[in-house]
């Protein structure tokens, strides 16, 4: 004997309540699949490695205490810039106004 449809519906309704599912006998599109999706943001945002502590940070932390640090690479760089300046190969002076930059171009 076939069970009446209303009875089956009742059963499904109770089932949905017990297991906290959505009762949707008409198969409407309720968009619940969007709610089921897991949030992808945290995994996507963790792609690039986090910033780690550098020597520069140490320098910045130590300077207010009145201690001096010695960064060899930085000193080398400054020295090289000095040498370049003496040879006339330093960076050009910053043009402050539009007129200055135009005159610089005209010279050529």
């Amino acid at each position: 004997m076939a069970t009446p449809y209303s009875r089956v519906l009742d059963l499904v309704k109770v089932q949905c309540r017990v297991f906290s599912m959505t009762f949707n006998p008409d198969r409407l599109r309720l968009g619940n699949k969007v709610l089921r999706q897991r949030l992808r943001g945290p995994t996507l945002a963790a792609w690039y490695p986090k910033k780690t502590v550098s020597f520069r940070d140490l320098q910045d932390a130590v300077k207010p205490l009145g201690l001096t640090t010695f960064d060899e690479a930085e000193d080398d760089r400054e020295e090289a810039i000095q040498i370049a300046k003496l040879r006339g190969k330093g960076r050009p002076k910053k043009k402050r106004t539009a007129a200055e930059s135009r005159s610089a171009k005209k010279k050529k």
Binding site: G31, L35, L44, Y48
Partner: protein, 113 residues
């Protein structure tokens, strides 16, 4: 976009403008993901009134481009390259090869069979 970019550099590894931009997009997407999902739910729910759904569609389409997941592109962590990036190492092919030959990737070695 500059309003989203963090004022201080917050990633390590290889840095260039494109890497920073992509990282910014990732963070913005993470922040706005619940909003986007809520709007998507409203749009897809056929039991809601049509007007509400249309409104939600409009909202979603007017959200900033950086909140969109399709803007995100996987880039090589060691070289910033966007092509041929392997997801489980986050490295592009050439960087992978260099690191594998240097023995920096555990378990990876030259294969011959």
């Amino acid at each position: 976009m500059s309003q989203f970019r963090s004022k201080k550099l917050d990633i390590g590894g290889f840095i260039n403008a494109r890497v920073i931009r992509d990282h910014t997009k990732r963070k913005v997407f993470e922040q706005y993901e619940p909003d986007r999902q809520a709007l998507r739910y409203i749009i897809r729910n056929t039991s809601l009134p049509q007007r509400v759904r249309a409104q939600a569609q409009l909202q979603l389409s007017t959200m900033h481009a950086y909140t969109r997941p399709t803007q995100i592109k996987n880039r090589c962590v060691a070289g910033g390259i966007a092509r041929s990036v392997f997801r489980n190492f986050r490295l592009a092919r050439y960087q992978f090869r260099m690191q594998a030959l240097a023995g920096e990737l555990p378990g990876v070695r030259k294969a011959s069979w």
